[in-house]
């Protein structure tokens, strides 16, 4: 039961560590700060679990392995949820629009829906992915430099496909014959 209580509290532990990390170190980007906090909290959680649950507890190898896997999956699923929530407050267009509405009280449709060109918006997104080291601009051409976000994109594309959404289907058709 102690194991379950500790695991349930893992997002709170990650949040507390995140509060300390974001105040003590300004070196990290907000997302990187959250990831570092989750990793530090994971070490703390492992120590707590060892001290309160597994220390001096004679168990069979199979039970130990399943307990380890269980703790690993539950901790990472819960802290992944925490990271995702934090990331939404950092980058989500929906959250950002809602925040701007809270500030303004009432907004006209044309204030929210961008009326300016696509290229300006694309520049903003390109700057963001370049800053995250996922793309590099070489001689005016953007090339992949990091793989983390690309793999995340592939997973989401696959999930989107199996759920029957056609979000990236036109993209695939277009990208098969890029005008390079």
């Amino acid at each position: 039961m102690i194991m379950l209580i500790l695991l349930v509290s893992s997002p709170i532990l990650a949040f507390v560590v995140h509060m300390l990390v974001s105040r003590l170190s300004r070196r990290f980007s907000p997302q990187m700060g959250a990831i570092v906090s989750i990793l530090i909290a994971q070490i703390l959680m492992a120590l707590l679990l060892y001290y309160f649950v597994f220390h001096g507890c004679p168990t069979k190898t199979a039970e130990l392995v399943s307990a380890f896997l269980y703790c690993f999956i539950v901790y990472n699923a819960l802290t992944y949820t925490y990271f995702h929530l934090f990331n939404m407050t950092e980058t989500s267009r929906r959250i950002r629009t809602a925040y701007e509405l809270e500030k303004a009280g009432h907004l006209h449709v044309s204030d929210i829906v961008p009326v300016y060109g696509t290229t300006d918006l694309i520049d903003g997104y390109l700057e963001k992915v370049v800053a995250l080291n996922q793309l590099t601009c070489k001689n005016g051409r953007y090339v992949l430099s990091g793989r983390l976000f690309y793999y995340a994109a592939l997973v989401l594309k696959a999930l989107s496909y199996i759920l029957g959404f056609q979000l990236y289907s036109t993209l695939s058709k277009l990208s098969k014959t890029p005008e390079v």
């Binding site: 039961m1 379950l4 695991l7 949040f15 509060m19 039970e63 392995v65 399943s66 307990a67 896997l69 269980y70 999956i73 539950v74 819960l78 949820t81 995702h84 407050t89 950092e90 267009r93 929906r94 959250i95 950002r96 629009t97 809602a98 925040y99 809270e102 303004a104 009280g105 009432h106 907004l107 204030d111 929210i112 829906v113 961008p114 300006d120 694309i122 903003g124 997104y125 963001k128 992915v129 005016g140 051409r141 953007y142 090339v143 976000f149 690309y150 994109a153 592939l154 989401l156 594309k157 999930l159 989107s160 759920l163 959404f165 993209l171 277009l174 990208s175 890029p178 005008e179 390079v180």
Partner: protein, 179 residues
């Protein structure tokens, strides 16, 4: 901890995911969030109650075992449900990465990327989604609903506790503000 508990937890999640997948392929529900909550939370609860009523599964009679399996299922379900909107709506960032990746090793110029990513359309979709939950039309514009106000206040509180500011629109779109 018995490996059976781990298997029960994983199996419960996989079964719920398969039901969700099947349902979405046949006919996507109108209220997707409610449907997801029913599939991943209410349905397993009803099945557990039914099995307890029948007294057929022995491990369900031990509250700790039940809590162990439930926690694994809940952790995976929450992680999935929080990821779901990202799979449902197109992210401009991820779309740009996929387009560039498909043109590797040469990559793409900005003009070529612009042709493939329709950002204003993505914004319209974003507004449509918001209209379902956090914002409402009022006259010729939009206002926040009470849910929206609550969400934004919680978000501000959350970021203040972390010692962080709310990212401005300029940070997302450095060239022009959203407003």
């Amino acid at each position: 901890m018995s490996p059976v508990l781990l298997l029960y937890g994983l199996t419960t999640f996989v079964i719920c995911f398969c039901i969700h997948l099947l349902l979405w392929r046949i006919r996507r529900p109108g209220n997707e969030v409610l449907a997801l909550l029913l599939i991943f939370f209410i349905m397993p609860l009803l099945v557990i109650c039914f099995l307890r009523f029948l007294d057929r599964v022995e491990f369900l009679s031990h509250p700790v075992n039940l809590a162990t399996v439930s926690l694994l299922h809940l952790a995976l379900s929450i992680a999935y449900i929080i990821t779901y909107p990202a799979a449902r709506a197109t992210s401009p960032t991820l779309k740009i990465l996929l387009v560039v990746a498909s043109a590797m090793p040469n990559g793409l110029t900005r003009a070529e990327i612009v042709k493939y990513v329709d950002v204003p359309e993505l914004f319209s979709n974003c507004l449509k989604d918001l209209e379902c939950s956090l914002i409402a039309r009022e006259g010729d514009g939009f206002v926040l609903t009470w849910k929206g106000k609550l969400a934004v206040r919680l978000l501000i509180l959350f970021r203040r506790m972390l010692g962080l500011q709310i990212p401005t629109v300029d940070k997302l779109f450095p060239h022009k503000g959203l407003l």
